[in-house]
Symmetry: C2
Subunit: 376 residues, 2 copies
């Protein structure tokens, strides 16, 4: 995997880059739609390509491991063959889901024991096992197996958890470096910085992760309930330590404003369930601000969902029709809102990129952050 | 509205025709996807056009009246403007839903009083009101307000209900003929034959409906639980009485085999929720037979959903992937299965048409009926 910086902003730490994988190249900053079980919810693969202009999507290792399971994915020839998405795919390590979804989980030095939230079956995840699983899933970018601490988290726990994450990282790297890619194309491994909201832990973790010199680096354990100022402070601290010539991925973030603020701090890659999950509840992110389409005020507004972004669903369907569908719990409502929100997120990061290249990113971002944060 | 017969089959009563409306022409036999609340569930309008090749869709008057309501539809400029479907739309009269969904309904000579299943609000539907409502919705084809008898139904009730339906029809016609189309394009009214499974009532009703000389005629009150032989017997009896030069619409039917059998009897138009509702539960209708995609046997079958029909979703997605999505309750599973089933239904009626024109409909249909009925 190769990463190159195409432009940098001189009033912030924002950068525009290009990441090249065997499934195609990705321009950064980039937002990665979440395809938990091998499908971005309510969106066809064709729509991801043609309407949303997604360049890379996520899969969740925990979900894919449980269903359809490794045997099926392997028989299919990997996740890309299985779901028909032929551009890059990143998988998380499954750690976050084990902690948030699975039952009766037990974390030990060796790894994690847990029971499936679907049928209670017992499984073990270890750093080595998670590398093997992601090899079989066939992600272009694999994530290290870490522990994501909750917020708030006391210093002692945050420290020992970070140290465990570092020891697990070494085991991940050893396993990864000693196993071949499974389907002929190159796979890479990103380590994850932890350390909760403690600056000294974050510094220590970022330095440790940077020292591993992998193709890219991730920042985990943020956007888990901490004040947004803490998230930005930790992100800035970590970005300043992580190598400049490698992509930086801020996991699970966030709102459009969070993304623009974090781009300013030097983040290149983002993922979040917010645009799709909130879409299904009728929350729309637009270039003019946030819309709760269930509000009475939209009932006879026949204007496009977003007048600026000019996507298919925005112009074809009106706010009033989308409101009717969401209120009536029609599946098409979830479909339209999901395509809209993802299109908007991809439009936003691409605009950010163009403004970084154009030299006016910081003033543009400051105006946009206000616009995209307001409630319409 | 103009209907012309393009070809007839000499071994059955099947015909191929063309129905011309102000929103475009419809080739028959035709299947009409059901868009209850102004949306064919889980399907984009673009997919209805480009993938499914739908020529006309249904809307349910009862649902549209309750949500979004007439005020919104009228402000939008009618249902076509509201949902963006610019081809023909047929609306039912709302009668069937009042009997099956609404609460505390009371049928009197004047009309029906009922409470909304959504919030309990009380409403009155009368033949005149239902004409006014469908004028405002803006359907190209409006349906008469009838009473659809349940099955079984004793003779006395079936007879008095049929007579009520006939008196209501006269009131529908009087109202329809004395009110203008609402949005500049032509609307037409189809009366409905009732009479349960009693041949003499069906004969009497068909003769009454035929005497009204409307642009098209419908057969109601079938596919409500009666033996399939009774459904075919009643359909045949009624088709033989209804005018040959007008389209015949068999309401709420049915399986692919039901449709082919009924085309043989002279039916031109069909609608049914089966292809979409069953899709959401993982039942696929294919040119080779019926698939329950949840079955274990499909878990590692990476072949196309239907090798014959050659639609986008059939070739892009595999059976194994679709099975995974349906089992995981992913919305995309409902989307793929719905597009597939509707594409198959539209493919089937178009094949029927081609075989009627080609002169080999009856033998083709006999082979197909066996194929499409078998469980794979």
């Amino acid at each position: 995997m190769k990463f190159s910086i195409n432009a940098t902003d001189d009033k912030s730490k924002a950068r525009a880059g290009t990441l090249i994988t065997d499934h195609g190249s990705i321009t950064t900053p980039i937002f990665m739609p979440v395809g938990t079980a091998g499908s971005v919810k309510a969106v066809h693969q064709r729509e991801l390509h043609d309407d949303i202009h997604a360049q890379i999507i996520l899969g969740n290792t925990y979900h894919l491991f449980l269903r359809p399971g490794l045997e099926i994915i392997e028989k299919a020839g990997g996740i890309h063959k299985f779901n028909g998405w032929d551009k890059p795919i990143l998988t998380d390590s499954g750690g976050y889901q084990v902690y948030s979804l699975a039952e009766k989980r037990k974390i030990k030095e060796e790894g994690v024991k847990f029971q499936s939230h679907i049928d209670g079956t017992r499984y073990d995840f270890s750093p080595e096992r998670v590398m093997d699983i992601q090899r079989i899933i066939g992600a272009d970018i694999m994530m290290a197996f870490d522990e994501c601490t909750p917020y708030p988290c006391d210093f002692a726990y945050a420290k020992s958890s970070m140290e465990l994450t570092h020891r697990w990282l070494d085991r991940c790297i050893a396993r990864f470096d000693n196993t071949p890619a499974h389907y002929g194309y190159h796979q890479t491994l990103f380590p994850i910085v932890q350390g909760s909201t403690y600056s000294d832990l974050r510094k220590q973790s970022a330095e440790y992760i940077a020292s591993k010199n992998r193709d890219g680096n991730a920042i985990g354990g943020l956007s888990v309930g901490e004040p947004v100022e803490d998230m930005y402070a930790m992100t800035e601290l970590v970005c300043d330590i992580l190598p400049e010539d490698k992509p930086r991925y801020l996991m699970g973030v966030g709102t459009p404003a969070n993304i623009l603020e974090s781009i300013k701090l030097g983040v290149d890659m983002f993922d979040c369930v917010m645009p799709t999950r909130n879409a299904r509840n009728g929350m729309l992110f637009t270039s003019e601000g946030i819309i709760n389409i269930k509000n009475e005020k939209w009932k006879d507004d026949f204007s496009p969902i977003d007048p600026t972004t000019n996507h298919y669903v925005d112009n074809f369907y009106s706010k009033a029709y989308l409101r009717h569908l969401i209120i009536s719990k029609e599946i098409l409502g979830a479909q339209i809102a999901s395509i809209h929100n993802l299109s908007f997120y991809l439009w936003l990061v691409n605009e950010a990129r163009e403004h970084i290249k154009g030299g006016d990113f910081a003033p543009w971002a400051n105006v946009m952050i206000k616009k995209v944060s307001q409630r319409l």
